[in-house]
Symmetry: C3
Subunit: 138 residues, 3 copies
């Protein structure tokens, strides 16, 4: 059985946006009890990540680390059409992930206690981001 | 239903090689309408990535960024048997991905407008790279 | 058909622990001949990676590279509750992967000659790590 849908996340610029609850809703709607849930981000300047879900400092530290590793406006970059955060956003996407696969058990996403799913926006300005959800199994 | 095949990419040294069309051919051959397409690179010194597909400068900038982040001939590395690009190639592979899963909708890979699939060669010399394709669904 | 199980890895602190044999056992038990094997790590301070499996120097170099890229005790980090290796472990996890999907052919994991599956522990102290295995196909 294959369940397929898409959801949108309106981001307000750089940062991590929790999507675990939205993903869980889709898994419930799919009525699939045992299998996998695949998430696919249709963009090259944001990411889907599994991150520690208890202390917001973790996401803030993550943002600071990435900003230092891939600095905005780095003179190394020639692809600067959309501003100093354009190429860094692509690099951040490549260094992380655009797709995630999660186990589904008992009709729910079977994550570890401290794992949450986040959409990580890498552009300064808010964007409308689309995620394709596929749930498959029995 | 499970479709399985393998394709080869002859690379001409470092750089990104587009494989979206080859992947699409396999999805069509599979006759699967709705499901997922899994790509698996059988190597530890190259990557499979989803990257911006419009401006070649993005791939050039990506290459420059990686060359700075993981410099060839770095004295940190002891695994240098096959030359100064040997260990950096393994690190680049670990920092990116060897496998990708893409949604299949209406018998096609359902990527975002600006997403292309690339095989990123990390070795200086050209190599014969093998990718295992699995399409599954209905 | 969906096969599901979980296995544990007791780590002895930072480093790469081979799990290919354990994964192969699960694939055999599943009796699935052609399909995919999904591995999911239920933690945000370790990783699952595919790495060169012949020369242990590769894993040692990888460790050295990551220790330099994401230094323990970096004053950039504010999330330091569990010590100087706490936040670096989360960053290392995000820069690598918590889930992997491998092809299954002829009832076996169909990896490249030089590919091995490793659990990469990022915490200094040993931990009990849980991996969820899902094998699906025909």
């Amino acid at each position: 059985m294959v369940y397929r849908d898409t959801f949108q996340v309106m981001t307000g610029g750089r940062g991590c946006y929790p999507v675990t609850d939205t993903v869980e809703q889709h898994v419930r709607q799919s009525r699939i009890q045992a299998g996998l849930c695949h998430l696919f981000l249709r963009h090259t300047s944001a990411s889907l990540i599994l991150c520690e879900n208890a202390d917001p400092d973790v996401r803030a530290d993550l943002e600071r680390f990435m900003s230092r590793l891939v600095p905005d406006g780095d003179p190394l970059f020639t692809h600067t059409l959309e501003g100093p955060d354009d190429m860094p956003a692509h690099v951040r996407n490549i260094l992380t992930h655009a797709d995630l696969t999660l186990p589904v058990t008992g009709g729910r996403c079977d994550l570890g206690t401290w794992q949450g799913v986040y959409l990580w926006e890498h552009r300064d300005r808010g964007q409308r981001r689309q995620v394709t959800v596929t749930v498959y199994g029995e």
